[in-house]
């Protein structure tokens, strides 16, 4: 029984880490930059398709195609940021909602047109398939990989945004554009880079998620709800918050399904509603 509990905890944590990699980009664009970016999932989808093309048509191994997903999503997002999104930074969330929803529609149709409506499976390298046995308990190899990747991303981001010069600039620029500009910061460039970072992370998340949740043109809509939940529960502007929220949501969801399977579909939403009712700013939110 205790062994089972350990496995369930691990599975929950691993699922939480999947939620984290899917949503961490949004905690940058929505959380830090305050841009209601419902097209987050679309950039995730873009990353996913980038990996599919890289692996299937260009024979690039899985691990090398992951950074590619980050780059493709990041670069494409810069184009959109420079041409369209930046006009709406101060236009209010409703306009941002309409614009980004529109972009999701366009992205979904584009992918359906070029790649068809079917699932896009990828074949993982052998070392990421199957399980690792530890003290009689079995842990999925890909899940372990996900946990490691998520920890690395979280570590790099928290360090990068809170302990480096670049991080300080980003925080200054998003906190008060005018003052930051006055201090001689190139706010435009900082915003572009930060947005690219968020979208790149979305692309990476999408790429990592294919193995567990699959990939088709409805991806951008499908996981929007999950990523919004993680960011809201974690609290805007806190990468660490997103990490903790994702881990808790994952454990609560998997554990809940294990002990009360009939409640399976309700758990994640109940968890969110209760947390946000008690703490409207989220677990670690400041505003």
């Amino acid at each position: 029984m205790i062994g089972n509990l350990a496995v369930v905890l691990f599975d929950g944590f691993a699922f939480g880490m999947l939620l984290f990699v899917l949503s961490v980009g949004l905690s940058v664009t929505l959380g830090l930059m305050n841009f209601t970016n419902l097209a987050h999932g679309a950039f995730g989808m873009l990353g996913g398709y980038a990996v599919v093309v890289a692996m299937r048509d260009l024979d690039i191994p899985f691990l090398l195609s992951l950074p590619l997903a980050f780059l493709v999503a990041g670069l494409v997002s810069v184009v959109f940021e420079r041409t369209i999104f930046r006009r709406l930074y101060r236009a209010g969330e409703l306009n941002q909602v309409l614009l980004t929803i529109g972009l999701v529609f366009v992205a979904a149709a584009t992918m359906a047109y070029f790649f068809g409506t079917g699932q896009q499976p990828i074949a993982l390298p052998a070392y990421l398939q199957g399980y690792v046995e530890l003290g009689g308990l079995r842990f999925g190899a890909y899940r372990i990989f996900l946990v490691v990747v998520a920890l690395v991303i979280a570590g790099l981001l928290v360090f990068g945004l809170e302990h480096t010069r670049f991080g300080a600039r980003v925080r200054a620029a998003v906190d008060n554009q005018r003052v930051a500009q006055g201090l001689g910061l190139n706010v435009d460039a900082i915003f572009a880079v930060t947005f690219a970072l968020g979208s790149g992370l979305a692309g990476l998340g999408g790429a990592l998620a294919i193995e567990i949740v699959g990939l088709d043109p409805s991806f951008g809509f499908h996981y929007l709800v999950y990523v919004l939940i993680v960011v809201a529960v974690g609290g805007l502007g806190s990468i660490g918050g997103s990490f903790v929220a994702a881990a808790l949501l994952g454990i609560f969801d998997v554990g809940g399904k294990y002990f009360v399977p009939d409640m399976g579909a309700f758990l994640i939403y109940l968890f969110m509603v209760v947390i946000l009712f008690v703490r409207p700013v989220g677990l670690f939110g400041k505003r």
Binding site: G116, A123, G214, L215, H222, V254, Y258, P261
Partner: protein
């Protein structure tokens, strides 16, 4: 306002009467296709359309001196209100002779009253809930029903000596149907269901449910999951926990080992036993020609249950029109459709004259390596299976 309504009503009825008499005179037969061309079920729509297109490509667009015209309408998903509106528009605006398509049960249920009222043949090319054909005397089905496969499958499994099974189904109508019909067949032959769980329809992670199954240590696991990303997800979760054949027998409806799921599952798919009405790999000249033609049309995509439903649905319409010598009225078409039987790429099929539902073989397949590639290999055939629910009450 109400006076205006009444006036408009009167105008409408006279218009309707005038238009319905003109529709017959033309030299075309219009088929209105109602299905999800967009949205989360777009792939079902795309595959069904390809099946339809292949049939028209192979057999020409002229039958009994009439030209076949297809009119496509997108429901966007399981929306009966949209499906009903589209059916109405197809009847009153486009003057279609046949309503067809219907990938999802709510679409078919929404359109059924329109078929009855307008007296149009309605061909259900996929939606798989038993009751659909009972909703209108003009409905005929060319796909499959879930109880048809799974009741037979349950009996078969028990006959093979499997005694204890755990069932895991998606928590929605089709899942519940699959669970109850499998369990019924299984128990009738002396099997025992040791546990039953329902997973949310759009469940991204199956580890919790698979762990519960593992705890119960069943001899076999029965799974019903909608197609798309889930078959691969659940297959991998099972493999992660070591629940793989031959130690644990894995049973499921055919979606579990569709080509894309199999590609994603890799060697973890080996040994899974599924029951289905259509098997891509079935060695049969008609099927091989169908698969080759389909891949040629879709640039490499393989046909699935939606494709075969659309293909056979078109065959039914063509064959019926030939018999009526081009009379496309609903009454004439449904009359000749009853009892029709033909050789389909999936095998021999018959339209039951009593229920207007399909009677067909259920194939039991096992994933095995053939020439280095994993395939669904037919290991048993249950002949001429009817839906067990019609008239059961």
């Amino acid at each position: 306002m109400l006076k205006k309504t009444a006036a408009a009503l009167a105008l409408g009825f006279s218009l309707a009467a005038a238009l319905s008499s003109t529709a017959l005179a033309e030299g075309t037969v219009k088929i209105g296709l109602i299905m999800p061309y967009s949205g989360p079920f777009a792939d079902a729509g795309a595959q069904m359309q390809a099946g339809i297109d292949l049939y028209v490509k192979e057999h020409g667009d002229e039958v009994a001196g009439k030209k076949i015209v297809l009119i496509k309408k997108d429901t966007g998903g399981p929306n009966p209100d949209v499906a009903k509106r589209l059916a109405q528009e197809l009847v009153v605006r486009d003057h279609v002779d046949v309503l067809a398509g219907f990938a999802l049960t709510p679409e078919a249920l929404g359109a059924a009253p329109v078929a009855t009222e307008a007296k149009k043949l309605m061909v259900d090319m996929n939606a798989a809930t038993s009751i659909i054909t009972e909703k209108s005397p003009y409905i005929v089905r060319t796909s499959v029903t879930i109880p048809q496969i799974n009741y037979a499958f349950g009996k078969w499994a028990a006959d093979q000596g499997i005694k204890h099974a755990y069932t895991l189904v998606a928590d929605y109508g089709p899942g519940h149907d699959a669970e109850s019909s499998f369990a019924k067949g299984f128990k009738e032959k002396g099997g025992e269901i040791v546990g039953a769980d329902h997973s949310p329809v759009a469940n991204p992670d199956f580890s919790a449910y698979v762990q519960r199954i593992k705890d119960a240590k069943p001899e076999a696991v029965y799974i019903f999951i909608p197609g798309g990303s889930q078959p691969a997800a659940i297959g991998k979760a099972l493999a992660d926990k070591g629940l793989t054949p031959p130690n644990t027998k894995l049973l499921g409806q055919g979606e579990l080992t569709m080509p894309d799921a199999m590609e994603s599952l890799g060697k973890n798919a080996d040994g899974i036993i599924t029951a289905f009405h259509y098997t891509l790999e079935r060695k049969d000249p008609l099927n091989q020609k169908f698969v080759a033609g389909y891949k040629n049309l879709t640039k490499g995509r393989e046909p699935d249950l939606f494709s075969i439903g659309g293909y056979d649905g078109m065959h039914l319409i063509y064959a019926a029109l030939k018999k009526t010598k081009g009379d496309a009225s609903g009454d004439a078409l449904i009359k000749v459709a009853k009892g029709m039987s033909w050789e389909s790429p999936r095998g021999p099929i018959t339209i039951d004259p009593e229920t207007r539902d399909i009677v067909q073989n259920v194939y039991i397949r096992k994933v095995e390596k053939v020439d280095g590639k994993l395939q669904n290999v037919i290991i048993d055939t249950i002949k001429d299976v009817k839906d067990p629910l019609h008239g059961a009450k």
